[in-house]
Amino acid sequence: MPKEGRMSVPTGGDGTSPSADAVGAQGGPRRGRSVLVQMETPNLIPERDLGSLPVLQAERLGIDFGGLTAVDDFSIALGRTEISGIIGPNGAGKTTIFNLLTNVYKPTRGTILLDGVDTANKSMVQVNKMGIARTFQNIRLFDKMTVAENVLVGFTNAMSSSLVADILRLPSHWRQEEEFRDRTLSLLDIFGMRGLADETAGNLPYGAQRRLEILRALATQPKVLLLDEPAAGMNPNETEELMSNIQLIRDEFQIAILLIEHDMQLVSGVCEGVAVLDYGKIISKGTPEEIQNDPRVIEAYLGKQVGVR
């Protein structure tokens, strides 16, 4: 299976060639529309990520719950620094896809390749270590812990002090605690949350909780960040801020971001590629403009107009 996956990489790509990466970085993943390139598979990735292996690839992914096919024939490729979105009506299977990508569910069919490595039979933790981090549609913070502790939990695997060193309070314990306290605070700085470091996470306002969840996911040092409805429950100002923050994160960390969102303002604002899902299948793929004018998409959301074909 991995071989098949690699074949879908555009030709001439010794996937990890550093020069290609450099081009990507120079060309700059900046605001503004990028050119999408048709690949061998029906996948689209931004032009600047063309030289390197797509960081996340799903090949004909599908899952059945009993007799119900929740997701079928789902294929995407995500470029290294791409921001993409999945949209679709309620119950289309968007969150199910996130659960498949993070190995919460085991796919019935298909393959997931993260950086060219198959994630089948890996646990959620292993997949997280391999480089996928996510947030949740209904916020799942560690409510009774402080903001800083929430982020520090994300750093768990980056920290290496042994149990004995921690219990005996050896110098290595203190050194590490201090180092990661600093890293936590500079992560919190991204969203200007340093002052909240010692607040209890459950007491934060809604928007701050969403931001904290993103930071916790970032602390696990992912290659791909999956955001499940990051703007849900936010007012237009907050959404605006979130949009610039999503781009800031991508530019800063050079990671790919895949998001599920209903807010079209956000999707068309930050996403380079969009996949539209309906009844578990991708019905359309392309740039936000292309999507908005696609009759199949309009049909999925609004229904078919009688008499007009």
Binding site: L152, L163, A197, T220
Partner: protein
């Protein structure tokens, strides 16, 4: 990770603007706490040696220490990990038997007599430490055996499986001699002739060490992972926390200290009988944790103290003491369902820091009914 390298922030916890907050350095904090512990030990020992506290009261004090260990160790599994094991007495009995048998068998080998524990000869001390560790280790092994399958279950299922485990242990201890033909546990009539190696000083020392180790465990990356599992298991797993490992770790740590507590118990009471470690004992320990506040170490310590002393103090009204005990519990559950202290934890250093920064408890709303009040003052004098 390619974060922008801002100039390295000084490790200032609050980071709130305002007047400079005075903070205590780490060695200072440790020195203060060590002083407090030493002061307690000295005062306690003087009282015991000076005969101010009777022999009977000393035994009650030892029991207090033992139940503090039991409650705090159960708190690791309930308050911190968020599970509900009902078999803590099982681990206690395993530890107790293991420790007592280990000591009794090795006494002749080391040439240590029962009296030596009181005089405190090095050989006896080393043997005692080994025996307690052995008791803890055997209980920890039981913790692994029971924990690995049980922790796949949640809530009431885990409660029932641990409850069943404790009963199995009780029955095994009762019958192992008769079935296997060893002279090991003494069967239903109990294991007698255990040297009384538990005294005030070594109980106090074990309590202090246990509290420190559990505290240090919880205030590390491992402890944070355990707390994260309690708060949200799915999110913890998605954040890279190895849920199975940390659940087992917390459960085994809990079992280990229960075993150590059981070891002290055997030396304190002098007789190990399987009937003492029934279901009610587990419930008794659980009540201590719930009453004190799940996830609060000082809460467990205080309620273990009160709930051990209370029945003894009410012995004069022996007909009514269980009624009073029940009434106290009901009142607490009605008016403080989160436990007496909720999740509040006492920190001497924080207290002193607040005092240094001019935030005194009587100036604004007091932080809970601070039971450590006099301790802090005492330490202030020392520091």
């Amino acid at each position: 990770m390619r974060t922008q390298t801002t100039d390295k922030p000084v490790i200032s916890l609050g980071a709130t603007a305002g007047p400079v907050q005075r903070r205590l350095s780490m060695p200072m904090r440790y020195a203060m706490n060590a002083l407090l512990v030493l002061a307690f030990l000295l005062v306690g020992n003087l009282l015991v040696d000076g005969g101010v506290i009777t022999r009977y009261q000393t035994t009650v004090l030892e029991q207090v220490g033992i139940y503090i260990i039991m409650a705090v160790s159960l708190n690791v599994a309930t308050g911190y990990l968020g599970q509900l094991p009902l078999g803590h007495a099982g681990f206690m009995s395993v530890g107790g038997y293991a420790c007592a048998i280990f000591l009794m068998r090795l006494e002749p080998v080391f040439g240590v007599g029962a009296r030596d524990f009181v005089t405190g000869s090095p050989a006896a001390l080393a043997l005692l430490v080994l025996a307690l560790l052995f008791g803890g280790a055997v209980a920890a092994v039981c913790g692994i055996i029971i924990g690995v399958p049980a922790l796949r279950l949640k809530g009431d299922y885990l409660a029932i499986i641990t409850l069943g485990f404790a009963e199995i242990i009780r029955v095994v201890m009762q019958n192992v001699d008769a079935v296997l033909g060893f002279e090991l546990t003494g069967g239903a009539k109990g294991l007698t002739g255990i040297p009384s190696y538990t005294n005030f000083v070594n109980t106090f020392a074990v309590v202090a060490v246990s509290l420190f180790v559990i505290h240090a465990l919880m205030k590390s990356r491992h402890g944070r992972a355990i707390l994260a599992i309690r708060d949200n298991e799915v999110a913890a797993e998605a954040s890279g926390v190895n849920v199975t490992y940390y659940k087992t770790l917390a459960f085994v740590a809990s079992a280990f200290f229960a075993g150590v507590g059981g070891g002290l118990y055997a030396g304190c009471v002098g007789v190990m009988a399987p009937a003492k470690f029934g279901f009610m004992k587990s419930i008794e320990i659980l009540v201590m944790v719930v009453l004190g506040g799940m996830g609060s170490m000082i809460g467990s310590v205080l309620s273990a103290t009160v709930l051990t002393i209370l029945p003894e103090a009410l012995r004069a009204f022996s007909d009514y003491r269980m009624v009073a005990y029940a009434v106290v519990l009901i009142l607490v559950m009605i008016f403080r369902p989160q436990g007496l202290l909720g999740s509040y934890d006492f920190s001497l250093s924080r207290w002193v820091e607040n005092a240094l920064n001019g935030r005194l408890p009587w100036k604004d709303a007091p932080v809970a009914a601070d039971p450590g009040d006099h301790d802090a003052k005492e330490a202030n004098v020392h520091a």
